[in-house]
Each structure stands twice: as structure tokens, then as C-alpha cells.
């Protein structure tokens, strides 16, 4: 299963590295990354393969959510199907 990880917040040094390290620690493979900085708002979207993750989906959500709160970022981890079904016919 693929998950979409979105990171939104104020731009600061090392966001990409923190999030990707957290993913790598639990065996989540990042397939694609896009990011944009609008004024000083940072928005990064990652598509990740989580079949080989060493933690349950629920724990991954909690882990990244905690990482987000520590760094003043909003991190969502969601199943990719929600976006596919909402935006593609």
C-alpha cells in the first residue's frame, strides 16, 4: 500500500531530512517527493511505499504526528486512495 505524507508549516532548516530520516528508521520507502515554498510556508508531499514498514500504520501516523508537533509542522499520513477517489473519475 502507498501512503501520501504531507508536511505543511513554516519553512525551517532540515525539514526534508527530519521527515525522511523518520521514515527510513521504520522502513518506509519514499518513492516521490514534491515540495514548494510559498512565501515562507513550506509544503512537501511524499508518496511512500509502506508495505515493508516495521511499524503498524497507526504507529507511523502517531510517530510523524509527534515529529510534526515538535517542529511546528502539520504532518498527515493518509492512504493514497482517498486522493485518487476524490480527484480522479
Amino acid at each position: 500500500m502507498k501512503a501520501v505524507i504531507t508536511v505543511i508549516g513554516k519553512d525551517s532548516v532540515g525539514i526534508l531530512s527530519k521527515v525522511s530520516t523518520a521514515c527510513a528508521d521504520v522502513g518506509v520507502n519514499i518513492i516521490e517527493v514534491t515540495q514548494s515554498v510559498l512565501q515562507d510556508m513550506f509544503a512537501m508531499i511524499m508518496l511512500a511505499q509502506i508495505d515493508k514498514a516495521t511499524v503498524a500504520f497507526d504507529d507511523l501516523v502517531k510517530k510523524l504526528d509527534a515529529l510534526g508537533s515538535e517542529n511546528n509542522l502539520k504532518i498527515h499520513v493518509m492512504h493514497e486512495d482517498i486522493f485518487n477517489s476524490m480527484h480522479r473519475i
Partner: protein, 452 residues
């Protein structure tokens, strides 16, 4: 890959615009629980519901976590209990309500609907006793919801039942006086009730339905309002198109949840009910959508037209997004559950006559209206009769869920808390309909019923 813009739009809808799936409702048939011994029947009901729905709440929570979509309620609807009551040789049929409540409590669902009777053309065995037992049943249980269908376009209106329901509503409010008359908020009187409605308090599992189904009710007034706010529409056609596009996206999410839940629970998927159901939360109001279209305040002249457009556009947008659409599908206007409606009533812009007109074009009817505590049962019956007539003639579902605020008068407020919100006590029309209501009998089915 999915476009960044689309991903951010979905997340924004959930985080900031109150997008959610309002309910996953499992419909369970109780036909095979019929027994002439009421205690045996109650045991069978409890066992069947607990067996079928044991994973309902957990599955809902799992889907919420994985997909990031809030699923607010997990609920159960059952076969109208009057059908089971007809077989039992006893008047103590509120035992059924207690059994349903116990099952709901065990499973952790917040409401269970189906303490119901369908009497649009007359009373069968069990119907009469069930309606009589409603006030006590609702007062003695926490999670049971009750509904009675008293009219339809095909059958006309059963005025004897209308009379009984006026009394039932007032008695229910009286018995739950110490609890903000909450019982009356769990009692709906329908005309043209639908058999696959997932929304409470009017949900029941129709007799034409399968043994068990999953119905999903979506919501999202906040998303529609935000879309209208963000996009400057040049004319009303653009408004309708924008509502349609937004409703499509909301419904796609409901369809995904319904499919997923049905698969995980190994229960057939029934329908998606594409409704705009408001909550008292800031930014989750249907009234505010109407105001966003250009009305100064909900209830002013033009409100009925704006609501008609909204109701129709929601259906058109949603219908292509789901393989089976059903239930009530449209825009709800429950007064106490909608911050914009409460505000409009307090500012005297919205009264019962305007609301009645609005029910001719919304998806249901007079919903969550708090009325003075000294309202007579006959007046409540007359409100029900008016509303049923609108439904019967226009071939649509209408309903009445009014809460007589015992001990309070117009201008006071009744506070339920939670999803039910709080409601200002509303003024009613003057004059006494007692003689008309006491005539009883049936209003014949209208010409519209002769379609064959």
C-alpha cells in the same frame, strides 16, 4: 502522481472545513428474531445485533486512521419493531427498546434506530401498542431512536396516527423534562419515510432490505460554504455548478468509505446518502451556505429559492460520484444543530412559517425545532399534518422533529449539548386546530398517487 493542489485541497477540507463522514450505519433485519415470547425475542435481537455489528465501531475507527477521514458516528438501524411487537401477546413492548439499548451499549454505537411503526394507511397488530409505548421507551433508554411513518403519496395521511403522534411527542418531552426534554429529539414523525436512511433519529431498516447492509451518510456544509467563499461566482448558474462540483468530491469520499467498510465487514454495500448535515460547530452550517449565496440572513425572502438550488445541486453532483445513492440525500435544516439557523431565529429572521416553506424544497422537514412547553398535543399533531401534506403532495420525504420545552416559553433557550446543539424556543401560529385533528380518519391519497 496526484497533483499537489488536489492533495492540499483534500487536507484543507478535512482540517479546516469540517469535512467528515457523518455516519456508517449498519442496517440489520430482525425478521428472524420474531417470537411470541417477548423475552425470547429480545434475547434473539440482542444476540443478532451483537453478532453482526461486533466489529462495526472498530472498523470505522480503522478506516478513520488509515484514510485520515473522520467518521463521526457508527450506528445501527433495525427492522421496524412494531412488526415484532405484533406477534407478542403483551403490552409491555418497551422491553424491545431496552434490548436495543443494551445492544447499542455493548457495541459502543451512539444511536440505534428502528423503534418504529409504519402506519400510513392504518394500524396493524403491534403498531398501536408501539406508538403508545414510545414516550416511556425513549425516557428509559439512552440510545434508542424512534420514528413513525404516518403518511405517503401512495396512501394519503393517517390522521388517527397524526393525532397519536402529537400526544406521543408531548408525553415524551414531559417524561424527559429533567434531561432537557431530550426524548423528543429522538422521535421523528415521517411522511414518505425512506427505508435506507442512515441518519438518526429517523433511521430504520426497511422490510424490503437485505438481511444486513452498510449505508453511509456523508456531510460537509462547511466545504460547500468555503468553496462559495473562495470562488467569486458571476451568476447563479456558476453557483449551482460550484455546489455540484463540491458535492461530487464529498460524495466520492463517502463512496470510498462505504466500499471499504462493506468489504472489511463482509456486509453488502447499500447506499451513500449524500446529505449536507450541519453541526453546531463554527463553519458547519447550511444557513451560512445560503448566506454565502448573497442572502443577508437565512430566513429573509429568497431563502426558499436558494435552498431549492442547493438541495438540487447537491443531488446532481453527488449522484454520479456513487454507485448507489439513496436515503434522504439533500440539504438538512435542523434548527438547533445549525449555528446560522439559531442566529437567524434569535434575530427574528427565521420563524416556523418560513421553515415550513423551506421544507417543501429541502431534503427532509421541520427538524430540531424547540417549541413552547405549553403547546397542546393537538397543535403538535396539526404541525405534523401540515408537514405531511407538503410531503404527500410533492412526493418527497417530510418529517417533524419538534421538542416541546416543558416549562419554557418563546424566547427561552433549550441546550442539549453535543451534536444536537441548542435551540431558541420558537413562537407558533395562533388559533386552535383541535376540532380538525379530533376528526380522525384518513386524508385520501392525492391524484399524484395514480401513476399506473
Amino acid at each position: 502522481m496526484i497533483e499537489t493542489k488536489d492533495i492540499l485541497e483534500t487536507i484543507n477540507m478535512i482540517d479546516n472545513e469540517n469535512l467528515d463522514v457523518r455516519t456508517i450505519t449498519m442496517g440489520i433485519s430482525l425478521i428472524d428474531c420474531i417470537d411470541s415470547d417477548i423475552d425470547k425475542a429480545c434475547d434473539k435481537i440482542y444476540d443478532k445485533i451483537c453478532r453482526y455489528a461486533q466489529d462495526l465501531v472498530k472498523t470505522g475507527e480503522d478506516i478513520t486512521r488509515e484514510y485520515g477521514i473522520p467518521i463521526i458516528n457508527k450506528r445501527i438501524s433495525v427492522t421496524p419493531v412494531a412488526i415484532l411487537a405484533g406477534v407478542c401477546q403483551t403490552q409491555k413492548i418497551k422491553k424491545f427498546a431496552v434490548a436495543l439499548d443494551r445492544a447499542a451499549d455493548t457495541l459502543g454505537v451512539n444511536f440505534i434506530g428502528g423503534y418504529s411503526a409504519l402506519v400510513e394507511k392504518g394500524f396493524a397488530a403491534g403498531d398501536y401498542a408501539l406508538i403508545e409505548s414510545i414516550p416511556e421507551a425513549l425516557a428509559e433508554t439512552k440510545r434508542v431512536c424512534s420514528s413513525v411513518n404516518i403518511g405517503s403519496t401512495k396512501a394519503g395521511i393517517n390522521m388517527d396516527a397524526v393525532k397519536m403522534m402529537g400526544r406521543a411527542v408531548v408525553d415524551t418531552a414531559k417524561l424527559t423534562e429533567n434531561d432537557n426534554c431530550i426524548g423528543a429529539a429522538k422521535l421523528v414523525t415521517f411522511c414518505n419515510a425512506v427505508q435506507d436512511n442512515p441518519f438518526m433519529a429517523g433511521a430504520f431498516h426497511g422490510v424490503g432490505e437485505a438481511d444486513c447492509v452498510i449505508n453511509v451518510g456523508v456531510s460537509g456544509p462547511g466545504v460547500v460554504r468555503a468553496a462559495l467563499e473562495k470562488n467569486e461566482c458571476k451568476n447563479i448558474t456558476e453557483v449551482a455548478d460550484l455546489v455540484k462540483r463540491t458535492a461530487f468530491k464529498i460524495t466520492r469520499m463517502g463512496q470510498l468509505v462505504a466500499k471499504e467498510a462493506s468489504q472489511r465487514l463482509s456486509v453488502p454495500f447499500g447506499i451513500v446518502d449524500l446529505s449536507l448535515a450541519p453541526t453546531p460547530a463554527v463553519g458547519d452550517s447550511v444557513a451560512h451556505i445560503l448566506e454565502e449565496m448573497g442572502l443577508e440572513i437565512c430566513g429573509c425572502h429568497g431563502t426558499t429559492a436558494a435552498l431549492a438550488l442547493l438541495n438540487d445541486a447537491v443531488k446532481k453532483g453527488g449522484v454520479m460520484a456513487s454507485s448507489h445513492v439513496g436515503g434522504l440525500s439533500g440539504a438538512f435544516i435542523p434548527v438547533s444543530e445549525d449555528a446560522g439557523m439559531i442566529d437567524a431565529v434569535n434575530k427574528k429572521a427565521l420563524d416556523i412559517t418560513k421553515l415550513e416553506a423551506m421544507t417543501a424544497v429541502c431534503s427532509v422537514g421541520l427538524d430540531m425545532l424547540v417549541i413552547p412547553g405549553d403547546t397542546t398535543p393537538e397543535v403538535v399533531s396539526a404541525i405534523i399534518a401540515d408537514e405531511a401534506a407538503i410531503g404527500m403532495i410533492n412526493s418527497k420525504t417530510t418529517a417533524v422533529r419538534v421538542i416541546p420545552a416543558i416549562g419554557r416559553k418563546a424566547g427561552d433557550t433549550l441546550n442539549f449539548g453535543g451534536l444536537l446543539g441548542s435551540g431558541p424556543v420558537m413562537d407558533l401560529r395562533i388559533g386552535n386546530p383541535e376540532k380538525f385533528i379530533n376528526l380522525g380518519g384518513r386524508i385520501p391519497a392525492p391524484l399524484q398517487s395514480l401513476k399506473n
